[in-house]
């Protein structure tokens, strides 16, 4: 780092610390405070938001910040692996600065909304709730700022813990604790791989830093990996086990870390926890799905994107998993009855898009979609929360209808979010989703061989999912807000107050306009330099020398070609033509889906057309029997194996262990009998022991 540290960065730790303080306060004094600790949380997240904005402004001034708070050296100098230093540090660059704003803003809005959803509804246990929110926000903000993988892992785990606590908030009921356990265990399953990956990366590179500090004084693993592969110049020290091909080893490491991502970001096949997680309070769902836990996985891939870019195989897998998840989840969303269930599957589907973008080399596209999705999905969840308040906590869409007139603020904001989600121009979702698909398309076209084919397949999945997205989104909108009320509560819904409408309004506007920060198609068509996000994430030149950000943002130049071997291709009409075709196809599909929904459900008395799907509906409704399959795996495969192992353990291992311990204790009892208590015997035994040693030594050493 050169020069003096900008003032804002000195305060950066406070961004995470403030919610932590609110957590402590809510925990300790929450029951004695008005609103059960909500005000503290609101103040803290508002503070975090302000500081994040300050950091954002400072970063846009051209500085980045990598700072070690504490270093713990484990390997001695000159050791076989070089220095291994474990850090606690901060990394503030455009990516994290942007993410900080998203997280703190949504956390703030969720806190405010919770006043309406929790306090006004007379929930008990509010201090626990707000403490959980505070800790959750703290964990996510710390995760975002982590400058190395180990630290990221720790907060990743903490995020998981918080989700467990909050999903299971209503622990006295049956479903929430079970959902919380499921969320915890399924994501933990992925985290095992992640942990192995972290250890592997540290063992390989001696560091798990994301970014280089200063003049390469401390190495960063993506940079080192690039040097090892010869993608960038320089000598690197890395220990590859067993003389393995570095490329293969890095792919393995990347996929191990990806295990954690797949779990947290609810990608196939570890997505099953997420729909169940709807058992948590709705504001928590908004937080989890929009800004924290689920986003953490995608953010992690983006954070260490320089590393993934070195492995075409890993990228291909990411793209395929993402594309498949996008389609897969979208089809399931089509038949759900509960409003939050639809949103849950749409979340899975949308994160699939982000993964698709990352796999297709669209770093900016993925980040862009992460941002827009954060806003419109938070909006949709909060809107759903508002509806649920109105419906006295009945979530079944078939009991709703006609709410449009009763709650206009909710309706119009929800509509804004829905348009964004469906990807209708000019709402934010259109721009980001279009860019995702565009990246996949052009790289699929241009890249030769299996890689290209893989990307095109993933693109096809994603494209198809656009149609389903449009359909289920508007099916939800029409069923909820249009037509005639289908139940008594829908005729006379419960009112909501400012604390619900406020956040909705903010997010509604954001969902509509935030896409304008990165209108790439418009740029391509008109040549206007309006791809602000691209510029922002690329950062100024000075910054590239400081951090390894260069590795991400030079995506369409060096690393994307050298590492991932991606080449952009175009259709017949050149770049402009390709852009137009891509945008037109995706918009057309979205409109087609929405139109179908309009036809089927925007009627006074909608019926469950999904019944016409017959057996397919059952399959979809039961989530392709995913849960059943996993239960089957658990009961029929794992259990017998476990039982066999248990039998083996009980009889053979335990037998051996017990045998050893019995022998130990028995011989222990024997051994201690030597200690007769008679000091003369001690002297004798001592002398004899000495004599035996002496004679043995004399005999072997030839002393005579």
């Amino acid at each position: 780092m050169t020069g003096t540290t900008p003032f804002a960065f000195e305060f950066a730790p406070a961004i995470a610390a403030l919610p932590f303080v609110s957590f402590l306060i809510a925990l300790a004094f929450g029951d004695r405070m008005p609103k059960g600790g909500a005000l503290g949380g609101i103040l803290a997240t508002a503070g975090s938001l302000l500081l994040s904005l300050w950091v954002f402004v400072t970063v846009s001034g051209g500085s980045a910040y990598v700072h070690d708070i504490h270093t713990w050296t484990i390997l001695d100098a000159g050791g076989a692996l070089g220095d291994v230093n474990l850090h606690f540090g901060l990394l503030l660059d455009p990516l994290s600065a942007m993410m900080l704003i998203i997280v703190s803003l949504i956390a703030l809005l969720v806190h405010v909304f919770s006043l309406g959803y929790m306090n006004d509804e007379g929930e008990t246990g509010l201090p626990r709730y707000y403490a959980g929110l505070g800790l959750f926000t703290f964990s996510m903000l710390s995760f975002v700022m982590a400058d190395n993988l180990l630290q990221a892992f720790m907060f990743f785990e903490l995020v998981g813990l918080c989700s467990f606590l909050l999903i299971g908030f209503w622990f006295r009921e049956d479903a929430p604790p079970s959902a919380a356990k499921k969320a915890f265990l399924v994501t933990r399953f992925g985290d095992y791989f992640f942990l192995i990956g972290v250890v592997g990366i540290i063992a390989t590179f001696g560091t798990s830093r994301f970014a280089v500090v200063g003049d390469a004084a401390a190495a960063a693993f993506p940079v080192e990996a690039a040097k090892v592969l010869g993608v960038t110049e320089g000598t690197a020290t890395a220990v590859i086990p067993g003389g393995m091909d570095p490329q293969l080893w890095f792919t393995i490491l990347g996929l191990l870390v990806l295990g954690g991502v797949v779990g947290k970001s609810a990608q196939f096949p570890l997505h099953t926890w997420l729909p169940d997680a709807m058992e948590g309070p709705t504001p928590v769902s908004a937080l989890i799905h929009a800004a924290t836990m689920v986003a953490a996985g995608v953010y992690l891939v983006a954070r260490m994107y320089g590393f993934y870019l070195l492995s075409p195989t890993a990228l291909g897998i990411i793209a395929l998993v993402g594309g498949f998840t996008a389609l897969f989840a979208a089809t399931m969303g089509v038949v759900k009855k509960e409003i939050k269930q639809v949103l849950a599957y749409s979340t899975i589907s949308q994160y699939g898009y982000m993964m698709l973008a990352l796999g297709a080399g669209g770093y900016v596209a993925a980040t862009f979609h992460l941002m827009t999705h954060a806003f419109f999905k938070a909006l949709l969840f909060l809107g759903a929360g508002s509806v649920i308040i109105a419906m006295h906590h009945n979530e079944n869409m078939w009991d709703m209808g006609g709410l449009k007139e009763k709650m206009p603020v909710t309706y119009y904001t929800f509509l804004s979010g829905s348009l964004a989600l469906a990807g209708i121009v000019p709402f934010s979702g259109f721009w980001s989703k279009d860019e995702v698909l565009y990246e996949a398309f052009v790289h699929g076209l241009g890249t030769a061989g299996t890689q290209g084919t893989l990307l095109l397949v993933a693109y096809a999945f994603g494209l198809l999912a656009v149609f389903f997205t449009g359909f289920y989104t508007f099916r939800m909108v029409f069923l909820t807000f249009h037509g005639e009320p289908r139940s008594d509560t829908a005729k006379d819904p419960h009112g909501v107050r400012w604390n619900v409408k406020g956040p909705l309004a903010v997010l509604g506007i954001l969902a509509a306009v935030v896409g304008l920060v990165n209108m790439v198609p418009v740029k391509k068509l008109t040549g206007a330099n309006i791809d602000f996000l691209h510029k922002w994430l690329k950062g100024p030149e000075a910054l590239k020398a400081q951090t390894s950000v260069a590795h991400y943002t030079d995506g369409d130049t060096s690393l994307l070609h050298e590492g991932a071997h991606y080449v952009a291709g175009t259709l017949a009409g050149g770049e402009v033509g390709t852009v137009l075709i891509s945008a037109a196809v995706s918009l057309g599909l979205a409109l087609a889906g929405a139109g179908l929904a309009y036809r089927l459900y925007n009627v006074p008395e909608p019926v469950e057309h999904t019944d016409k799907l017959g057996a397919a509906k059952d399959v979809l409704y039961n989530n392709y029997y995913q849960d059943e399959f996993q239960v089957f795996l658990a009961e029929r495969v794992t259990m017998p194996l476990a039982k066999a192992a248990d039998t083996f353990d009980q009889s053979v291992i335990d037998g051996a262990v017990n045998g050893v311990s019995s022998v130990s204790l028995f011989s222990g009892r024997r051994v201690k009998r030597v200690q007769t208590g008679l000091v003369t015997n001690y002297a004798l035994l001592l002398t004899l022991g000495f004599l035996v040693l002496l004679v043995a030594m004399a005999a072997t050493g030839g002393w005579f």
């Binding site: 201690k672 200690q675 007769t676 208590g677 008679l678 000091v679 003369t680 002297a683 004798l684």
Partner: protein
Amino acid sequence: MAVPAEYYLVLSAGLFCIGLAGILTRKNALMFLMSVELMLNAANINFVAFSLYWGNLTGQTFALFTMALAAAEVAIGIGIILVLYRNFGDVDVTDAVGMRW
């Protein structure tokens, strides 16, 4: 004519083992102390004899200190034997067998 050094060694070894035998067979704590003195003095014989053998005074000087140490050891020993006597009514080292195994 000087006495060969190995004779001193055998003498000291004998003295050492006599002391050792005393420790191994005597039950009287005072006898125990005396036997320890014998063993320490066996070491002193070596020191003095090899002081002459090597022609330096290190051994002789150290032998003096060993004697002083022996005196200190006896002082503590007598103290412990006194409390032993007060507690067990005897100076028999084989009486104190309250702790074992």
